[in-house]
Subunit: 402 residues, 2 copies
């Protein structure tokens, strides 16, 4: 029987509509947006990443499926569109901030801590505990590019693999990292046709973390097994590694390694390095030229992160348990505490907006992120977030070592 | 007559397709992009803005209709999506980098030079020659927010309006600028309900340009009518303005004002200020703490821009006519010229990628932009561009004073 004459046009119309829509995604006028005012917050308990807008002071959406985020860190792609999330479980996830979804993901080791993006943006390197080494991936596809074992010879001459810690990017498409058990620093040059590693042995006992200064010149590794820090001047690698701040680490009592202040908690501002003391309720001040200790600022508790407002006029400091419900603000000129704030319980991290007008503070046990005006100290917004920890804004894409 | 049974389905299908497409913009998978790797190049002769991708090293498209771009400057919106173009003819144009088109435009004065975006991104201020003053606009809509005349009293007690030069943004949602005929610096605070202006009179004769350091603390104005520069410490405005580098300006012969080195040609790197000498073929080196002159580096010609690679290890320098077909590279540690390059004729500007792996150089009279690898000095790309002048990358959105 011939189809009813009215049904055929409708069916054809529906088919045509489907054919058109298949090649066409609805793009309302505000679908486009800049990436410069975006950021992410790691939400540990739910294993999610909250995507935030720092201009609107709002959470836009959440991305799930990132695995174990209990010690996750984040770096950004060169165009600021993607976040690379490094999970403790060895997961490397590339998150599209514009689509709010996972773009790529690899489980690239058994146990991992941190990573970095190369200077030119083409590579992502991951620091692995197990197996010990560095894996380098294409930042576009996450296809493997290089696998650099962190090998060393122990006292009995056996080749071992060490846990890699303190991985940072350095100018010249290089990466610098440390080997915990080996007491070595390695410099990986990815700028040529073949990866090239330069080893710096005997730099000190058990480097547990590291940082690179904002110009990418000085690599500083904290030592768990002895006092002081190891310094490598990347402008003069031929000069080797030297020890600085020889008394650093001498606290009232030894801290376990997981309580040692992380080097990301250091900051350089006003020609000085500002850093958490070990086992003392102080922020230490060192001369950034010769690394001599110049002052100690008494603070509320054991400092964890000492972070500089971008204009270097203030430092914001959070503290370890049981004093971790407080944040203090230090004036870099007077070196005095000018404000004490209560953002909530278990303050884990702070992040300044790129030009510093606001700071975002996570309070894990209050399930809250507070946004402060850094001039007036007014709390401008409080955002609900389950167990928030690390906060990362996209301007990090443009900064060496971040 | 009844329509042919086959024609009706086709017509209905076509209608349905049109209806679908009307509510739907084609958005191919790669329509979304980050804004962190974008930039613009001012093309004077054609009055156009070339939109560039620094990762692909390519010109994406050109935007026209920006009026007189002979002395245009560019600032970026907080989210890095828009460029604000300040034209000499008083035009203020907001350009959408994602759509490649003008989003808004106002002719806001008769004659203008430069502008800035407020720290929090909400305001755009424009420095006007005629009538002399600063106009502030909402950065979203370009709706007028404030009109601040640059008034002063001359020697005969008459109120006059002066040309405004050297306008910069400063922390706290403030702007700083200078009044050419008046010899004054003004500090405009836009953080409160009402704009508030603080005047600093008698700062020196004929400030013609200015800069603010990367922390937004020191405002430096160059003086055309006498030697030396005027310095305002924004952390201590109560201390007033003082004179620094008292011999600066003493060249072999006086230069006309349009040949005076612009303060944007200064850079701070490695604890030093590096600046073009006046009327001498030298880059001067000053201590950034006390502003004492510490060294002079002999170079190819009269320097115009002295720009630091982001890691502060190199300075790239271009020169005034007739030596403007050369760029030299200075090592900041040895203070020696390590390279001399020939990017073309009339090299007007240079811009480093955010982490410094490349630098883009415009050669106006060769109609060319050259992209160099800053480590190897290899010319990686040459792009055709008609009379290119200023080059600006979006990471400036995140940096105080830029």
């Amino acid at each position: 029987m011939m189809s009813h004459p009215l049904r055929m046009p409708l069916r054809a119309a529906a088919l045509a509509a489907l054919v058109s829509l298949a090649g066409c995604q609805a793009s309302p006028p505000d679908a486009l947006r800049g990436t410069g005012d975006l950021g992410v917050v790691v939400e540990r308990a739910t294993g999610s990443l909250a995507l935030v807008d720092t201009g609107d002071r709002a959470i836009l959406e959440r991305i799930e499926g990132l695995g174990d985020l209990s010690h996750a860190s984040v770096k950004f792609s060169r165009d600021a569109r993607y976040a690379f999330v490094f999970g403790r479980d060895g997961g490397l996830t590339k998150v599209d901030l514009l689509r709010g979804e996972i773009a790529a993901r690899v489980m690239q080791s058994g146990n991992s801590i941190g990573g970095a993006v190369s200077q030119d943006g083409s590579l992502v390197a991951v620091a692995n505990y197990e197996p010990g080494g560095v894996r380098v991936f294409d930042s576009e596809t996450l296809a493997p590019v290089a696998d650099i074992p962190a090998t060393w010879e122990d006292a009995r001459g056996r080749r071992q693999r060490a846990k890699v810690v303190g991985l940072v990017d350095a100018p010249g498409n290089r990466f610098v990292y440390s080997l915990f058990e080996a007491g070595e620093i390695h410099l990986l040059d990815m700028s040529g046709a073949t990866p090239a590693v330069t080893r710096f042995p005997d730099i000190g006992a058990q480097p547990y973390d590291a940082l690179i200064d904002p110009t990418g010149r000085y690599y500083l590794a904290g030592l768990f097994g002895e006092d002081g820090l190891a310094l490598l001047d990347l402008w003069h690698p031929e000069a080797g590694v030297r020890r600085i701040l020889p008394d650093y680490g001498r606290g009232e009592r030894r801290l376990p390694v997981y309580k040692m202040p992380h080097l990301e908690g250091w900051t350089l501002a006003g020609g000085r390095a500002w850093l958490p003391a070990v086992g003392r309720h102080e922020v230490l001040v060192a001369d950034a030229d010769d690394w001599s200790l110049v002052d100690r600022v008494p603070v509320h508790g054991q400092p964890i992160f000492v972070m500089s407002r971008p204009d270097e006029r203030q430092l914001w400091v959070n503290f370890a348990h049981p004093d971790n419900d407080v944040v203090q603000v230090i004036d870099t000129e007077t070196r005095e505490v000018v404000r004490t704030l209560s953002p909530g319980e278990a303050v884990l991290h702070m992040e300044f907006t790129p030009r510093g007008e606001h700071v975002w503070v996570s309070a894990r046990d209050s399930d809250r992120i507070t946004v402060y005006d850094t001039h007036t100290f007014e709390a401008l917004a409080e955002l609900d977030s389950e167990s928030p920890s690390g906060i990362f804004f996209t301007d990090r894409a443009h900064r060496i070592g971040l």
